[in-house]
Symmetry: C4
């Protein structure tokens, strides 16, 4: 009995290394196969919605999907078994996504429409970020995220201002253009205003009256100009973080006490008072 348990223990450890590790050959191979299967399953759901394709290969598609779902189900169970704190995994971001990725297929047995939610598997592609945990890559990704978080406040204020502008301009266009031009209601007009301000310009609704075209011109020039604002915010933030990173690597170290964060021109350690080595 004890031997059996220890065998099970060894199996658990080995599985853990393969599934969660990325340093062994087997671990890397597992990750690659997993990624390939995720990509394949996403592709399958896409192709299923293409009319001509689905009619021809319906049975093959369904079979393949069930095989992939089976693999994902086994993987999910193994992940729970071989980890020490299964609850933590189940309730983690990736744990929930892994569950959501297999559930719809089983539910489609009962509800026909739930089948499409299989596309949520695309979220599993986010695993790529975990697999590619190369320090260089993840460091840059980290830096990018920090910059975006730091500029969050300004961007929200900007977006809020844009939204109010869109409500007002949309209402104005509804009054100016009327129902003949396609501006059938204020929500539609606001939709048009967002389409125009963001310089997307579908062209499904376009102003016809001279006054409407004049206002539209102003909106376009405004949209063309204010795109500078989020860009400026994010750029300044990234440049700052780049600049700080550059400085960090050049910072003085105090030879006596080891303190690091002296200003560039400091001559004495601001902690212990010893002279700093100029070129340390």
């Amino acid at each position: 009995m004890r031997e059996a348990k220890s065998r099970y223990e060894i199996f658990r450890q080995k599985t853990h290394i393969i599934i969660y590790g990325t340093n062994t050959v087997a671990g890397r191979l597992f990750d690659l196969i997993l990624l390939g299967l995720i990509l394949l399953s996403v592709l399958l759901v896409m192709l299923e919605t293409v009319e001509g394709f689905d009619i021809k290969y319906h049975n093959q598609l369904v079979l393949l999907e069930w095989i992939i779902t089976a693999f994902f189900s086994i993987e999910y169970i193994l992940r729970i078994i071989c980890i020490d704190k299964p609850k933590r995994y189940i309730l983690s971001f990736y744990g929930i996504i892994d569950l959501i990725a297999i559930l719809p297929m089983y539910l489609s047995y009962f509800f026909a429409s739930s089948h499409l939610f299989v596309i949520i598997r695309a979220l599993r592609l986010l695993r790529l970020f975990k697999i590619l945990n190369h320090p260089h890559f993840s460091g840059q990704s980290q830096q990018l995220r920090k910059s975006l978080i730091a500029s969050r406040g300004k961007i929200v204020a900007f977006m809020y201002f844009v939204l109010i502008s869109c409500i007002l301009i949309g209402s104005l266009m509804y009054v100016v253009e009327g129902k003949e031009s396609g501006f059938t209601s204020i929500p539609i007009s606001i939709y048009w205003c967002i389409v125009t301000l963001t310089t997307v310009g579908f062209g499904d609704i376009t102003p016809i009256t001279p006054l409407g075209q004049f206002i539209a011109s102003l909106v376009m020039i405004m949209g063309y100009g204010i795109i500078a604002v989020p860009t400026g915010i994010v750029t300044a933030e990234i440049a700052k973080s780049e600049y700080n990173r550059g400085r960090e690597s050049k910072r003085h170290h105090c030879m006596s006490c080891g303190k690091e964060d002296h200003s560039e021109n400091a001559k004495f350690c601001h902690h212990c008072g010893n002279e700093l080595d100029e070129n340390s």
Copy 2:
């Protein structure tokens, strides 16, 4: 009589704290309810213009709007009563908007079309900036505004140049394309040029002749390139203000006289001559 006045005084003070203050629980709650009502009233006017919806719920919509207008009217009167200098509020930016926000509904009693101006209530949403007067948030918003004001001169010069280009290119396209392609007049051609230069591209008017398509290509490439100009201006300005803010926090303080604005390398206070502490 005196007691009555003092009671009225207390009521005024209490109302003042609730309406204008944001630090007490009641004050915050009032702000939240106000925001909710503004959002609701904006939503109501929007929905009123959606044909199917209006026919079904016309009476309910009108009733709700009158209730909200009544609330806003009472709020407006209270704001005037409980402030010490009512004139200053009435003539302030928010005071005027508050009045404009309630007037159209009353006027709609006499003029049917004035009703739509109720959408101006959306402007009241700007109050959010006042309510969210968190120092971090408003500081960033302030910084953003300063950067935009500082870059105003350059952006106006740029916009003026763009406008002259659009007049010239629009006229050229009118001559090249003619009336068959939709370029029916110079103003329409200028409108097309703005649509194209700002990379919106509705597609309601498009060149057909090879020469017209060639000129259009040049306009598009130009528009794609010169978007760099406003972006560059705003970004440089934001980066400068970020840089200055960063420096400010590191500035030397003179221990003797308290002066702050010494250059980064200063060793002696440029006001009193005392030696500056290197790492202060």
Copy 3:
């Protein structure tokens, strides 16, 4: 005779001050009237092409244009008379534009179609930059122009690369999509590629085949990404010029010899060797 000449001389001087000067009241007034007339004449040509408007007010429009042309002609002659070196003015940028601005109207007497070239008067609007020669404004405009000139080399290299890409992708799309989707020839396909890459997206020609849509997606993502390049170039250039301007105003002056361009950390003048005042 001599007195007459001196009178003529005085008239010339006075006219010179009014026409070329911007500091006297009369000079400013003249500039404003000139600008107003230029705007009016541009507006007139625009309105002439609007069908309904032209039929109604044809005679008034023509009359007004002849009046404006007469005024511009007199102004042109006066500019030549009251300047010391008339040749220099005539051959200058503004001199040529001033001539081109009045010629078409006279030529329209002989050739009906030349009339439309009156729109070239819009170029005279560039005078605004001359009139607004406020040091702050023109300094910023100058700085902007310098930044753009400095980044010229990189932008040309970038544009050339984009053009070659468009030729190749356009040809590919011609082969992939064929004549049914509107990709009737390689030049048209290149036009489509420019429309797509610059994110304008008219929608007059769109891919229909899956492969074509896939290539189009790649082109769009590419266009969305590489807009960063010209923006980055211009922004970096503007930021550099801003940074340099900021440094210039803080530069050390040597008290002994007056030399200016010492580095920020210099302690001794690099010309005469005297100690520099740290906070000069």
Copy 4:
């Protein structure tokens, strides 16, 4: 025999100077003629696909193309002959392009459709970068390429994130909008999502339902906002490289040992210990 070989040797050397050199008059002339012919041949293939043009001038076009192909073939053979290591040229980037540029024309003798691949000659236009090897120009081009390579990691991470978003949003839109609005399959919906997110906005497929238009609005605002990210990354990288270049030109040289890379505030050479000249 020996003389013959030496004559051949002289011919080889002269040809080498003309074909590969850019400093002699003959070398520059050869490069210009080559560029002109490349441009002409690209233009010819384009015009061939224009229906009206091809019918009129078919024979002339074909004749001209054969002449150009002959010239390119001779040039290719000469390039191989007059270089010392022919293999290196044949396998180099430009060598392969030069071969691909002449092959399709010969193959079109056997296969009718291969003819169109002549457009690949456009790639030969990249030679311009080689011909224009002015140090200023190529230095800037080099700097630009370095900045783009340095920002590669961040941009790939960003693109990957955008792609996953497009898959998820595309699937959502397929479910919301359905087949009536043109969202006939998930791949088409993803195509629409890319068209919208990149702010291209063809308008061939547009949402009709209110919910679809609401999601579309969110996608557009997202696309309008996140364009800031690649722009910010590239700009920060270019600014950094500009900044570093600026510093490099100001670096201290040690008079004793010649070492260059001292920090801006260094007073003693970090290699030999001699005092550094402050303003060297």
